[in-house]
């Protein structure tokens, strides 16, 4: 079961730091959402492998939009 990383707030995707296939640790930076001219870093909720990145730089996202899917590692 993959873990969905949801947007905690609406904004613009400012930077994307991961791509499908990457391995991430919990609390690694995944991407940055810009809202009200402020950069908000979105962190990995768990360690695992990135299955899919649903957004790209410049996208507008609403609150609770799915940003990234992560396959949690077993440990």
């Amino acid at each position: 079961m993959s873990e969905k990383v949801l947007a905690p707030l609406a904004g613009n995707i400012w930077q994307v730091h991961v791509k499908a296939g990457d391995t991430v640790e919990e609390d690694d930076d995944l991407l940055i959402i810009e809202a009200l001219k402020m950069e908000n870093i979105i962190y990995a909720p768990c360690s695992g492998k990135v299955i899919e990145v649903k957004v790209q730089k410049g996208d507008q996202v609403d609150e609770d939009a799915v940003l990234v899917l992560i396959e949690p590692s077993d440990d």
Partner: protein, 367 residues
């Protein structure tokens, strides 16, 4: 010889040189430090222009800057137009999804009233004290509007004080926020409010206009334009009007607002002991408003299980969205996954309405 005799050069006084220095300082701060450049740049240049001898730019009935000031501010045209643009820029969603946050916007007006009484006790007249206290709302156009009606002689000073403190939000607020909150409180993650429908967003500006103006009629010019701008935005059928109000028109009137306000400042009104008091009182107002918003949030937490991060109380001062950003920065420093900026926008927007109402109450009492 007449040409040489009429040169302004012979009329330069130490007072005028002092005003040039103040104008140039504001221009420097705007360009080099990016302190509220949209306002402080034209204000600084306005000060410089109004204090050039023999140019008569502020001469009543004929000067160019006097005309800007007279028809723009004394005739109450510019501040309401600014509010039209601000309304078109404002999303009331964060406020509507958690209506309890409106109390924080109201609570942050405490600094306005405290300062009003302190200024009066210090010997300022009631209308002057109100014009100084309103600085605590940290809303530039409202401060200008109120001062122009109650104490025009203080207009330039209170406007510069208000915009200076707004530029200093990221410096003034954090120590107060740290002092009044615990690490645990700063880590509070807030729960999402309910989803807002389009109809609610449409109804809000209409209902708010009627209710607020019925209760506080003198707030009408600013409130009416603020809500009309918001109705443009939310109606989704007048994109052109909404776009013009929040971009072209807002930019145009901002130019005239800044230059006119700057032009009201001259050596006679500026180099007085009172001016130092006004800056100190303005700072007091701003600090009290920040503190009262935080304290009110903490009080509300005593009665609810759905806790409020008290940092967003500081955003009840209506410096939009700077104080919401400051709240987010403080929250992230305590817990890097804590996203409160959108919640902070609730009190932030409520603060704009709160300051408007406070100004309306002053006008009702004192005009």
């Amino acid at each position: 010889m007449g040409f040489i005799h009429n040169m302004g050069l012979w009329s330069v006084t130490p007072g005028l040189l002092g005003m040039w220095l103040i104008g140039l300082t504001l221009i420097y701060l705007a360009i080099k430090k990016q302190y509220e450049p949209l306002l402080l740049l034209p204000i600084g240049f306005g000060i410089l222009l109004a204090n050039l001898p023999n140019a008569e730019l502020m001469t009543e009935g004929q000067g160019l800057l006097w005309r800007f000031y007279h028809y723009g501010i004394e005739w109450e045209i510019i501040p309401p137009l600014i509010f039209l643009g601000l309304g078109a820029l404002t999303d009331f969603g964060p406020l509507l999804s958690q209506p309890r946050l409106i109390f924080l916007g109201a609570g942050a007006q405490v600094g306005v009233y405290i300062t009003f009484f302190v200024a009066y006790a210090m010997g300022f007249t009631l209308p002057e004290a109100a014009s100084i206290g309103i600085i605590g709302g940290s809303d530039g156009p409202t401060t200008i509007y109120l001062a122009s009606k109650l104490a025009p002689q203080l207009l330039g000073v209170v406007a510069v004080a208000a915009y200076s403190y707004m530029a200093l939000v990221p410096i003034i607020q954090p120590p107060i926020m740290r002092l009044l909150t615990t690490e645990k409180e700063r880590k509070i993650r807030m729960h999402k409010g309910r989803k807002i429908t389009h109809n609610e967003k449409l109804l809000f500006p209409v209902v708010a206009t009627v209710v607020i103006i019925l209760l506080v009629p003198p707030s009408a010019p600013l409130m009416a334009m603020f809500m009309l701008g918001n109705l443009f935005r939310e109606s989704k059928v007048v994109e052109r009007l909404s776009d013009t109000a929040q971009n072209a028109l807002l930019n145009i009137v901002t130019i005239f607002l800044g230059v006119s306000v700057g032009a009201t400042m001259n050596a006679d009104t500026f180099f007085r002991r009172d001016v130092i008091f006004i800056f100190v009182l303005g700072l007091l107002a701003f600090m009290c408003s920040t503190a009262s918003g935080i304290i009110l949030a903490k009080l509300m937490n005593l009665f609810t299980s759905n806790k409020i991060n008290p940092l967003i109380g500081a955003a009840g001062v209506s410096a939009v969205p700077m104080s919401a950003r400051v709240a987010q920065k403080m929250a992230t420093a305590a817990d890097k996954k804590n996203y409160i900026i959108m919640f902070a926008m609730g009190p932030n927007i409520a603060g704009v309405i709160g300051t408007l109402i406070a100004a309306g109450v002053f006008l009702a009492m004192l005009k």
